[in-house]
């Protein structure tokens, strides 16, 4: 009975959620199986964790763009806040928490926490704006975060944490360690991100976002997106709802950033620039606004594609662009959409007509 209630597939939303969970778990099992059997090339294996991180970024941005209906162009900023604070926390904890998965989990939580604080601080001015203005201001804040992290120094010695801006004036005591080195970023990271951790983070992000979308917050957000004036007339608090979504989205981006950074030996603020924000937005737009499974597939495909195109050498990015344009055109074609809808075994008859 309980199970039946859980899988009540009558409503199309429930069906979508269910299919998404199944698809993610299936993809994880296949990839894990292939990699254990040694059938995955080393370049593919190296991409598993970044793909998971990008998927979480796509989910997180889709909450703002698809559900909330606000265009945010600074999402890489939250990712970098999460990456730097998470990695710094992991390095500090290195000596007394030796169990790597626990350290990774704590680092991701700390990354999410710092990113959500950044999300709140940025949300206060930004969410007063609408439409294009909001998009441009988030872009600016993304750049501000990048610049701050590019000039930030953080060190640790026996006296505790020391930080400085612009120049390294931390004056660490003997035996201290400079963790964040301004434009040099963080290096000497112990790679503790694993594909399993990435999978778990994707599932957690999905559960959080799906359950929120099916709650009063999700309804309020979608109502505000569809008609702000009507939403206010029925007593929905526009700023509060948007702020909540924005902060949750920033927190997820922070956790994803931490996962992403812990997969490399060095991490620099430069990596989380405007291009990264646009890339994540492309995942969301290509996969469909409000369509979480679609944006995850887009994230995976667009991460693998440039690697697979390496054999075309100089023409790589040209081909990448052409494929991207084709994908956008095809995914917006009604006839092709109809064709795929017919193939869907779960489709409901009313919908098909």
């Amino acid at each position: 009975m309980a199970l039946k209630k859980f899988i009540s597939l009558k409503r199309s939303e429930n069906r979508k959620v269910f299919i998404t969970y199944i698809a993610v778990i299936a993809a994880f099992i296949i990839c894990q199986g292939l990699s254990m059997a040694g059938l995955l090339s080393s370049s593919m294996q190296g991409m598993l964790v970044p793909i998971c991180a990008y998927m979480v970024m796509a989910i997180s941005l889709n909450l703002v763009v698809g559900v909330s209906g606000e265009l945010s162009l600074g999402h890489a900023g939250f990712m970098s806040v999460g990456a730097f604070s998470g990695v710094a926390a992991a390095i500090i904890m290195q000596n007394f928490i030796t169990y790597a998965p626990l350290r990774l989990a704590l680092a991701m939580i700390i990354g999410a926490l710092f990113a959500s604080i950044a999300g709140f601080l940025i949300g206060v001015p930004v969410l007063r704006l609408k439409g294009d203005y909001l998009a441009i201001v988030t872009l600016a804040f993304g750049e501000i975060i990048k610049s701050i992290l590019n000039n930030f120094f953080l060190g640790i010695d026996q006296n505790g944490l020391h930080m400085s801006m612009l120049k390294d004036t931390t004056n660490l005591a003997e035996g201290g360690r400079l963790i964040i080195r301004g434009p040099m970023g963080i290096n000497g990271i112990t790679k503790i991100s694993t594909f399993i951790a990435g999978f778990i983070l994707v599932m957690i992000a999905l559960i959080i976002v799906f359950n929120l979308v099916n709650s009063r917050l999700g309804r309020a957000l979608m109502a505000i997106r569809d008609d702000r004036i009507a939403a206010e007339s029925i007593g929905l608090d526009v700023t509060k709802s948007k702020m909540t979504a924005f902060v949750i989205s920033a927190a997820l981006a922070g956790a994803a950033g931490c996962l992403f950074a812990m997969n490399y030996f060095t991490i620099e603020a430069r990596k989380f620039d405007f291009n990264m924000s646009i890339l994540i937005l492309v995942f969301v737009v290509l996969g469909g606004q409000g369509n979480f499974l679609g944006s995850m597939i887009a994230a995976a495909a667009l991460t693998i594609l440039p690697e697979k195109l390496r054999e075309f050498a100089d023409y790589r990015m040209l081909l990448y662009a052409v494929i991207l344009i084709m994908a956008m055109l095809i995914s917006n074609n009604d006839e092709i959409k109809y064709f795929f809808r017919k193939l869907n075994p779960f489709r409901n008859k009313q919908e098909a007509e």
């Binding site: 709650s215 979608m222 109502a223 004036i229 009507a230 029925i234």
Partner: protein
């Protein structure tokens, strides 16, 4: 689940009608209400009192300022002069959200539904403020989430069943036929438990038989919810049939107030609509 499977009959249960303090104060009192928009006095000296269960009509030629009055009452515009007392409470400085919480719900002249949401989600969105569960219980689907969601699901279905819309609960609101969209707007407004309902041209674009149906719906709502209603309407048969009192606006001024019979024979009203006799 099973105990909630009672047949959905359009009888108001206690849960549907919120307990209000039945104070002596009228629902709405406007004193010298006015607004200047772009140098033009769009509404001036608007004095109206609406009783607790009154159905009032607001009529007048196009551009007379009828919708502006609604926008003033719901604080889409802040009035430049005058006071609005809602259930005896001054609404000075309120915003749209606070006005709704204080008891005014409205519909719109050009339908403003949440088009991508299902019909029932449109109604549930309006019940947002009576739900108390927090984000954590939503994410973890804790009992408080399940209990409150189930409760509003049934309440939303009951409300929809009053307008015979429970069968299209899962259809997206944008795909409803025109008349049903207008009805859904009324249901959504009612879902916020208002003491005053503002209907902005509810019969616009309807054919005569739909208008008759609408008239019955409005009467039903009025009886079941004991709610005061102000309606803006150009369909005179509807207004004259349903309203207990009528207020006529022209160029932002009230030119006549009274019962339907008074209004029909008022020379100032006839002049405003048909022009001066030569």
């Amino acid at each position: 689940m099973s105990k909630n499977k009672t047949k959905l009959v359009p009888v108001p249960s206690k849960a549907m009608i919120p307990e209000r303090d039945i104070a002596r104060a009228p629902v709405l009192e406007c004193v010298n209400l006015g607004i200047t928009l772009g140098g033009i006095k769009a509404v001036e000296d608007f004095n109206v009192t609406i009783g607790r269960t009154e159905i009032a009509g607001l009529i007048g030629p196009n551009g007379a300022g009828k919708t502006t009055v609604f926008n003033l009452l719901t604080k889409v515009y802040q009035p430049t002069t005058g006071t609005i007392l809602l259930n005896g409470q001054d609404t000075h400085g309120f915003d749209t959200v606070q006005v709704n919480k204080a008891g005014i719900a409205r519909t719109f002249q050009n339908i403003r539904l949440f088009k991508n949401l299902s019909v029932i989600d449109n109604v549930k969105a309006a019940m947002n403020n009576e739900m108390k569960y927090n984000l954590l219980s939503a994410v973890l689907k804790l009992p408080s989430y399940r209990r409150e969601e189930l409760a509003i699901h049934h309440r939303a279905l009951k409300l929809l069943s009053i307008f015979d819309m429970q069968d299209s609960a899962d259809v997206s609101a944008g795909s409803l036929p025109y008349g049903a969209q207008r009805r859904l707007e009324i249901v959504r407004a009612l879902a916020t438990n208002p003491s005053l309902l503002l209907l902005d041209e509810p019969a616009a674009g309807m054919n005569p038989s739909e208008t008759v149906e609408l008239m019955d719906s409005i009467r039903k709502v009025h009886e079941m919810f004991q709610v005061a209603i102000i309606l803006i309407e150009h369909d005179m048969s509807l207004v004259m049939n349903i309203c207990e009192s009528i207020c006529v606006l022209n160029f932002g001024h009230i030119i006549a107030k009274g019962t339907p019979d008074d209004i029909q024979s008022n020379p100032a009203v006839i002049e405003a609509y048909l022009g001066r006799k030569k």
